[in-house]
Symmetry: none
Subunit: 263 residues, 2 copies
DNA sequence: GGCGGCGGTGAAAAATCTGTGAGTTGATCC
DNA sequence: GGATCAACTCACAGATTTTTCACCGCCGCC
């Protein structure tokens, strides 16, 4: 289902476009449009932990007399879903607002509300952005990930650290659990970018209400212990993490980050 | 070097835009624009084995009275360089030409020639497409802000000043705290405009009631100390700030401003 | 000269974040 | 039904970051 988040303070545009958007087939599934009339309401919704990830955001930069209300929504979105494509729909094309949208807000497109055949143009451009984004998402999936001394086979999900297979720290005869393995994979894939709790929850396809930071933290602990056991259990890996190598706490938004270990 | 391939049959557009494009810095290197006045000539060039790969193609769909001359160039490009981003620059926005550009020709953008401030719009949009494409190519790599001797990676949040990583001034083994990092980023992004307490509070997504000027001031202090430590801790940076370089107090509404430091 | 506001400073208090250990839950298998 | 195991929760202490507070010097102004 194509899920569109739209922030627009002028109701007549909503009345005009919403039915058209909902009747348009963007990705082979029914389209749902969620509209917010105020930037604050949208931000609040976005920040709430249970918010479902939209596929695309449609923003108006200039709302309720505030030049940058739309940009605050954009920042909230970027924080929660860094990859989310955003399109601006505005009456101020060709102005500094358009420039700001492209240069600091990483807009994918900026559509002038006043133009010929706007309904169609809107749909074409949304479709184009969604297609482009889909293309981008399914790039890069090698079977084996190598990062320093780590070897991660994404087919069999086995993980080797300096030649030793990572085992379950609670019971060294058993392999590492599936969730920690996945988390490790996502961390290594995302390196050197950190992954926040929300991003991990998103990738694990977990219920964002349930997957908490405490949860993430615990898996990180499991992983660190597993690495530590793999290199002898002297606590060296834990120490390395504190120094900023291996699985590093990022210090914001409950995020962790994979940094290759130098020897 | 940003290499742009442009196919355009009306010379006056070339005269008008080419100098601007060539004077615009799209990727930190000089820009070169190669113009073809005829679709056939462009296709022939593209198919020739020695043709250099451009970074972006600018096409006009409707040329020399032929509705689809531009699309033939697009097909030639797609065959030779499947990943090449293409932007249409046309007088026929909102028509079937735009639809075709997006739906069958995988246009990244479609820019109407007749619109306010077209020169700037063209540059913003080209820049946006190039950035998006670069991101896509190297698997969403560095979004780095450069300002003088400062290098700020907005993905990993690492900040380097003259090659030294900015650390927490209170504990030099630890990285700069999240809030100061963000404030620095916003300041540099907003430069040369100052950011008042209220603006920072908005960007930090903080409660404007709680985020006071005293607060902002303290973070600025942390930042200045961090810079100072990074260059040796002689207080030089603090002095520079007083002289009007680096993180400058703006003197109104409790605002601060980032000014690149000249050496 | 006294006054008041602004911005810099240092330290203390408050809030938040993290690591840790232990306890629950729920699913699966015997 | 009971054992087992991974995933999840909870509580708490220690570390770290952020906010608050009090004070100081400077400057313009009456």
């Amino acid at each position: 289902m194509a899920n569109i988040l739209w922030v627009e303070d002028q109701l007549h545009w909503v009345d005009r476009f919403q039915p058209i958007l909902e009747a348009t087939d963007f990705d082979g599934e029914p389209t749902r449009v969620t509209v917010f009339g105020f930037a604050e309401a949208a931000c609040q919704h976005i920040r709430s932990p249970g918010a479902a990830r939209p596929d695309l955001a449609l923003l108006d930069a200039h709302m309720n007399g505030n030049d940058s209300a739309g940009f605050s929504v954009s920042r909230a979105l970027r924080r929660k879903w860094p990859e989310l494509p955003m399109i601006y729909l505005s009456e101020h094309s060709g102005t500094g607002i358009e420039q700001q949208a492209f240069e600091t807000s990483e807009a994918r497109d900026f559509i002038a509300k006043h133009q010929a055949n706007i309904e169609s143009v809107l749909c074409w451009r949304i479709k184009a952005v969604l297609r482009q984004h889909a293309l981008q998402q399914r790039g890069a999936s090698d079977a084996v990930i190598d990062s320093g001394d780590l070897r991660l086979d994404t087919e069999t999900w086995e993980v080797y650290w300096r030649g030793h297979k990572l085992m379950n720290p609670g019971n060294s005869r058993r392999p590492l659990g599936p969730t920690p393995r996945k988390i490790l994979r996502y961390l290594v894939e995302a390196a050197p970018r950190p992954l926040s709790t929300a991003q991990i929850a998103d990738r694990l396809d977990a219920d964002p209400e349930r997957f908490s930071y405490a949860n993430y933290r615990q898996h990180i602990r499991t992983l660190r212990l597993a690495f530590d056991h793999a290199e002898g259990g002297q606590g060296d890996f834990i120490e390395a993490c504190k120094r900023g190598e291996g699985i590093v706490t990022f210090g914001d938004q409950g995020a962790y980050c994979w940094k290759p270990v130098v020897r």
